[in-house]
């Protein structure tokens, strides 16, 4: 089996902004609304890609939207080797 290539530094895409809308601001409109991406109940989950370790698989980048169509639980915790 070929050794998996994985260097010390491997950038993942992190939060992935939705494609900017092509709406042209109305004439005379001074304020351009900047939509800030954040998690909110009842709203679409902000997508992201992160480097991951998966037991039995190894190192692999994981994108949240790869799991679209399933029930997903994301669990954040302060650090490995502590309780969660």
């Amino acid at each position: 089996m070929a050794e998996m290539k994985d260097g010390c530094v491997k950038p993942a895409r992190g939060p992935m902004m939705p494609k900017p809308s092509v709406d042209v601001p109305k004439e005379g409109s001074q304020v351009k609304e900047v939509e800030r991406m954040h998690a909110q109940v009842g709203k679409e989950a902000p997508d992201f890609e992160a480097n991951a370790f998966i037991s039995g698989v190894g190192f692999k980048p994981v994108k949240l939207s790869d799991y679209k169509g399933k029930w997903i639980v994301i669990c954040f915790y302060p650090g490995d080797f502590t309780f969660v």
């Binding site: 993942a12 909110q40 480097n51 991951a52 029930w71 639980v73 954040f76 650090g79």
Partner: protein, 125 residues
């Protein structure tokens, strides 16, 4: 997901978690180095440089249904997480709503004008 690297995740899995859970934790262990994902989800503590305890349930349509965020001193209750997932699944399948503490098999409610003032007749916790 934590701000630890994927390498630290591997060692934690192999050295500790696999001794607590047969075969190790079966879920992907994600690295949020830099906290950018935690920032978007409202759980990144920039002063400490870590993601605090945040838990999110996302449905198959990619909509966030629930979130729970705790400061780090108190651990979570997986039973309550599973209860909430089951309740959201039931709601999605049936269109009914589930009163507090609902467990599968318990009475559900059908929201509408007929229910107003009648919850006490149907739901007896």
């Amino acid at each position: 997901m934590s701000t630890d690297s994927r390498f630290v995740h591997k060692i934690w899995q192999e050295e500790e978690l696999s001794k607590m859970v047969d075969g190790g934790v079966p879920f992907p262990m994600l690295s949020d180095a830099g906290g950018m994902i935690g920032e978007v989800y409202g759980v990144y503590d920039a002063a400490a440089g870590v993601d605090i305890r945040g838990r999110f349930i996302i449905d198959p349509d990619f909509v966030i249904r629930a979130m729970e965020v705790l400061t780090p001193e108190v651990g979570r209750n997986p039973k309550e997480l599973i209860r909430q997932v089951k309740a959201f699944q039931h709601v999605k399948e049936t269109g009914e709503v589930t009163p507090s503490g609902w467990e599968p098999g318990d009475v559900t409610l059908k929201p509408g004008p007929a229910l107003v003032g009648k919850v006490w007749e149907i739901w007896k916790p």
